[in-house]
């Protein structure tokens, strides 16, 4: 006897409205739209995206690279809300431009890791057997090496710079997602809807991509939004270890790393700017991720 959710139409009174169907995604969106925290964080994220886009296009904060050595390390003023840095550049503008770097690292790096993790996880979980063993061996090996060492080793070998950071994050952060995907594919492979597809004669590719993937894609989304946070934080760590973006490219990691020296001369605004920008982005991403999980994950939904 399955408990049928109270909100569904009562069994003998079958709803026969003409409305167009609403997919689970739309349902989730609907739920998200009702969640005030989620909406606020979403607005903040969108704000950051717009900020990044406008900065990148040079529409706002185009003065980020304007050097004026006369006004190096000025404390916050009306002219420079967050003061200036070593080269007299506007810290606010640089922090805003740091958004571009962080989002690039976050999205590109995590995107890559999602692709690797999903593909390998799908193959391992769906096919099982030797394929599974090989992939599990591979990711266990990667996982066994502490990831700090792995990231450092990769960066030392590939070099530094924005593209490298994206690549390094992509190549090292996929393991957890892969593990989740493998477990999900394993679970879904034996689900009745997939068995139905088998009995209907669907091919392997069809089962993987048309049937199972859309049903686990919410996890990709959830892991993605969490991965973006990790990636942004990793950029900071890599910058600190001297493996960050190219000098001159505005980045929060570099600003925070420079703060180590700047704080000694009471220059706190560089750190404050970068940390503030990062805090609100990370906070919104995590809160949004939370809401996303609640909205998307049917397991938690019933609660």
């Amino acid at each position: 006897m399955k408990e049928i959710s109270l909100s569904s139409p009562l069994p003998w009174q079958e709803k026969s409205s003409e409305q167009k169907g609403r997919s689970l995604w739309q349902d989730a969106l609907h739920r998200l739209a009702k969640d005030k925290v989620a909406m606020v964080s979403f607005v903040v994220i969108v704000f950051y995206l717009i900020l990044a886009a406008l900065s990148k296009l040079g529409i706002i904060f185009s003065n980020f690279d304007l050097v004026n050595n006369e006004i190096a390390y000025q404390s916050p003023s009306w002219e420079h809300w967050l003061g200036t840095d070593l080269f007299g550049r506007d810290v606010l503008a640089r922090a805003a431009h740091g958004t571009v770097t962080s989002l690039t690292v976050g999205f590109a790096g995590t995107g890559l890791s999602m692709v690797i993790g999903t593909v390998l996880g799908a193959l391992a979980g769906y096919f099982g057997g030797k394929m599974d063993e090989a992939i599990v061996w591979f990711y266990t090996t990667i996982d066994t090496v502490p990831y700090i060492l792995l990231v450092i080793a990769f960066s030392m070998v590939i070099g530094s710079g924005l593209n490298t950071i994206c690549l390094v994050i992509g190549l090292t952060f996929w393991v957890n997602h892969c593990r989740v995907m493998r477990a999900e594919f394993m679970k879904h492979r034996d689900r009745e809807y997939v068995q139905s597809a088998v009995s209907l004669g669907a091919s392997h590719l069809r089962r993987i991509f048309i049937h199972i993937l859309p049903n686990v894609s919410h996890l990709v989304l959830i892991n993605f939004s969490l991965g973006v946070v990790t990636a942004i934080m990793s950029e900071v760590m890599l910058s600190y270890l001297g493996l960050g973006v190219e000098p001159g490219v505005p980045s929060w990691g570099m600003m925070i790393s420079d703060a180590k020296l700047e704080l000694s001369r009471q220059v706190w605004w560089g750190l404050a700017g970068a940390t503030g920008f990062m805090f609100f982005l990370v906070l919104s991403l995590i809160l949004f991720n939370d809401a996303l999980r609640d909205a998307l994950d049917p397991k938690l939904k019933n609660k």
Binding site: G159, S160, L263, S264, R265
Partner: protein, 603 residues
């Protein structure tokens, strides 16, 4: 139920589940933590507390290639010669040698007479644990060690191609055809106390080399006793004995009670008397019973520890400079704490090197000059050195013979219009047609910022720079492998002689040698060889100045700055006179322990 009782209950339950052992550990830990505030009073001890700002790597003289390793080695081991503690410019003095060596007319044979009765420090490697007497053959053994290819010493360059037969011996050893017993023509010990060095060609700098840690004397018994672990068991003839070393933390040395090689100097520079450097004249040294060298890499803990009086002296971290020094004097805060400032000129030079093999940079001297003219040195000095540097006009730094404070390099000025003219001459008006140039830099914060500053300067004349950062070893490897196009680097004197800087441009020293720019100029090279036959003096200085002019004409580097060292020290530290080339200075320092005790309580 309120939070407090709830959480208490929760923790207790958790402990019960986790086992009582954990409860006990944690409780005892909390207890110890809370008692952590009670400090032991070590201030009364006659201990010198100093700091190493990067790690001490090794205590083997032939491995000690970095400042702090050689600094530590120099307290335990000694060489034939050393520098006078007080006199400036630096003056050589005999240390283990009884007097300065006799040099033959052709400059090829140097005869040293050792002091008699010098003993190695006591160690179980010696019979009955008693240090034996030092003999001339110990030097021959020590230098063979330096040359032994199996030891892979970075310091071999000091003798490379200089001592008769040493390179050949090295060659033979690598083939397994020679041993330490095999005699070398250039290194002879006719009796216990006489050491004769024969050179291939005149090499005046030999005497400077003999002050360096690489050439200090070790005992064969100790090396053989400890084998590969010798680097952790230093036993020398010096004023301090090794006590303990916690790597990445601290090295502790204690006074060698048997040491009595010499006393505190009785004369010095003219101003020394007034500055109380001669108060201890003729007194027995070393003054301190113990030296603790703390390895503190990060600036903040180092500076805070100094401010608290846990360190007797330190250099001022770049970013604490403003709070420590204003208008060339210590700030009131520091004055109140009894902290003094000492400014020294460093025999060093920073420079931006061009890869002379590069098809663009190497072949276009006008482009190099344009770039030099576009570099705003004054601003860089303000920004990166807090004004603690002077503009370098040439590779020759202050504190060495041929340095001419009045020399003005016509391309070493910040003149954008002139720079742009040179860009036109170079064939790249406004930088048109010039591909971006790769600037290599180590990845530490300051290096990165310097590179950024360089880039910003070059943009003003249309030269585009791509900065590539990497770890220090990868950076140097890139230079060694001639893969770098343009890079910023510095050179600190091994010894106070212009030769040590001009060799950086000597053709045969090209990569992987120290001439990373791979500069080659026949005339320059000939002058270099010519100068090496000469003793210091007007004639040699003239040759060096000629070389300097060739440098200026072709400009294989953009010379940067010569740095000044700003050291701060507490009032209780006496006889603190600093020079970066002098390593064996700790024995002269004296602590007024009473004053320290009183002052520290206030800090």
């Amino acid at each position: 139920m309120n939070f407090a009782t709830f959480s208490l209950k929760l923790s207790v339950q958790f402990f019960i589940r986790k086992g009582k052992a954990m409860l006990i550990t944690t409780l005892s830990l909390l207890l110890t933590l809370s008692m952590g505030c009670t400090r032991k009073n070590k201030d009364a001890e006659n201990t010198l507390n100093i700091v190493a700002t990067s790690n001490i790597k090794t205590l083997d003289p032939i491995e000690a290639s970095d400042v702090y390793s050689s600094g530590a080695v120099a307290q335990v081991y000694e060489g034939l010669l050393h520098y006078h503690f007080l006199k400036r410019p630096l003056q050589l003095e005999p240390l283990l040698a009884a007097q300065m060596p006799k040099v033959s007319k052709d400059g090829l044979t140097h005869t040293f007479t050792l002091r008699q009765g010098i003993k190695f420090q006591d160690d179980s490697a010696f019979p009955e644990g008693k240090g034996r007497e030092l003999t001339a053959s110990d030097f021959i053994y020590s230098w063979k060690r330096l040359a032994d290819p199996n030891n892979k010493s970075e310091g071999f360059w000091v003798f490379d191609n200089k001592i008769l037969g040493l390179n050949e011996w090295r060659e033979q050893v690598s083939k397994g055809k020679a041993t330490y017993e095999t005699p070398i023509e250039g290194l002879q010990a006719p009796d216990r106390y006489t050491l004769i060095i024969k050179l291939k060609k005149p090499f005046y700098q030999l005497h400077y080399v003999l002050t360096m840690s690489y050439t200090s004397v070790v005992a064969k018994e100790v090396v053989e006793r400890y084998g590969k672990e010798f680097l952790n068991h230093p036993v020398g003839t010096g004023p301090f004995k090794f006590e303990s070393w916690t790597r990445n933390n601290q090295l502790v040395l204690t006074r060698n009670k048997d040491w009595s090689l010499h006393t505190y100097p009785t004369e010095g520079e003219a101003s020394d008397k007034a500055q109380n450097y001669l108060e201890d004249a003729g007194k027995k040294i070393p003054f301190v019973d113990k030296v603790v060298i703390q390895e503190i890499i990060e600036d903040q803990p180092r500076w805070l520890n100094f401010m608290k009086g846990n360190l007797d002296y330190t250099s001022i971290p770049k970013d604490n400079f403003d709070s420590a020094v204003q208008n060339g004097k210590t700030t009131k805060e520091l004055n109140d704490k009894g902290i003094h400032l000492q400014i020294n000129r460093e025999p060093d030079v920073t420079y931006t090197a061009f890869n002379m093999n590069d098809p663009i940079l190497g072949k276009n001297e006008n482009l190099r000059k344009a770039m030099s003219l576009a570099y705003d040195t004054d601003t860089s000095i303000k920004k990166f050195y807090n004004g603690r540097a002077i503009t370098a006009q040439s590779p020759i730094p202050p504190e060495v013979d041929a340095y001419d404070p009045n020399y003005k390099n016509p391309y070493k000025e910040y003149n954008l219009s002139k720079a742009k003219e040179f860009m036109v001459k170079a064939g790249y008006p406004e930088g048109k047609g010039l591909a971006p140039i790769e600037f290599s830099s180590p990845n530490s914060t300051t290096n990165r910022q310097t590179a950024e500053f360089f880039k910003q300067n070059m943009e003003k004349i249309g030269v585009k720079i791509n900065i590539v950062t990497s770890s220090w070893p990868q950076f140097t490897t890139k230079i060694t492998e001639k893969k770098a196009q343009l890079w910023g680097i510095a050179w600190l004197a091994d010894y106070p002689d212009a030769e040590n800087f001009l060799q950086l441009l000597y053709g045969p020293n090209g990569s992987p040698g120290p001439n990373g720019a791979n500069y080659k100029n026949k005339e320059f090279d000939e002058l270099y060889e010519q100068a090496s036959h000469l003793l210091p003096g007007v004639e040699r200085d003239k040759i060096y100045q000629k070389m300097r002019d060739i440098f200026t004409k072709e400009l294989p580097w953009i010379p940067g700055v010569h740095r000044l060292s700003y050291s701060t020290y507490h009032n209780w530290l006496k006889n603190f006179k600093f020079h970066s080339v002098i390593n064996d200075n700790l024995k002269y320092f004296r602590i007024d322990t009473k004053e320290r005790g009183e002052m520290k309580a206030k800090l």
